[in-house]
Amino acid sequence: MELGLEVDDSRRPYTVLAVKGEVDVYTAPRLREKLVELVSQGKHQIVVDLEGVDFLDSTGLGVLVGGLKRLRSHDGDLTLVCTHQRILKVFEITGLTKVFSIFGSVDQAVAE
């Protein structure tokens, strides 16, 4: 039931946030807090790595959309790394694949 949140700052100007575990209404507040913290530290190019996420529901989507919105207002961006079909599906059904840039690896996300 723990959400893993690991920040990698070695890919400037990108900050990579690797999320591990299940993102639902119980764990999403921690994801939101972490994003707020990063933005407040002036990190405006955030790559959220969802490869370690086993489950993501609409609460998690809401936090990611909120983060994207906040970053865009700073001329930044929030992009995603995700290859797992079960997680991609949630973005597809909700149409959010057209809102987020989704990459197949962190390398690709920071290369663009």
Binding site: M1, E22, D24, V25, Y26, F55, D57, S58, T59, L61, G62, V63, V65, G66, L68, K69, R72, Q85, R86, V90, I93, T94, G95, L96, K98, V99
Partner: protein, 165 residues
């Protein structure tokens, strides 16, 4: 096989219990039904959305009321119901998020739960009750071979009762 109640579960209206409800539903669905893993994942997500809403509904008026979960099965289907004691709502009168091409879309961080439920399960019913809301989600798919569990129940007698080898 008639429609039969498989399992009932009451959990507190607190977010940490949603993971347990997901676990239980997924375990029963995989054990009892011939469902692809992907269908089980869909059901898990729909259940998670319904539980999130049920908890939120209870918190407004009856924070101490549990969320009541039932799993029913019939030959061709599995049904999960999630019931709360909240104020109820009209699912046909929900505001839909604007199309994703609209820049306004980003202001909608919510309102994705019910559309997800409707997409993920074969049938979703939002039933208004006197005491709250019951969301019934149905997935079709036959029972697994292990359906008649009575048959494989081990009479607990010892090896000695087996025919001589």
């Amino acid at each position: 096989m008639q429609r039969a109640l498989v399992l009932e579960l009451d959990v507190p209206s607190s977010p940490e219990y949603i993971a347990i409800v997901r676990l239980v539903v997924a375990s029963v669905a995989s054990a009892r039904r011939a469902l692809a893993d992907e269908r089980v994942d869909d059901l898990k997500l729909a259940v998670s959305e319904a539980c999130t809403n049920a908890i939120e509904a209870n918190r407004v008026v009856h924070p101490d009321a549990p969320v009541h979960v039932e799993i029913w099965e019939a030959t061709d289907r599995l049904e999960v119901t999630i019931e709360d004691s909240g104020l109820g709502f009209d699912p046909d009168k929900l505001e839909f998020p604007p199309p994703i091409t609209d820049p306004e879309r980003l202001n909608f961080e919510r309102g994705l739960g019910i559309p997800l439920i409707r997409t993920l399960v074969d049938n979703a019913a939002f039933i208004r009750k006197d005491t709250g809301t019951c969301v019934r989600m149905t997935v079709f798919g036959g029972p697994t071979d292990g359906d008649d569990t009575g048959a494989i129940y081990m009479d607990m007698s010892s090896f000695a009762d087996l025919p001589p080898l």
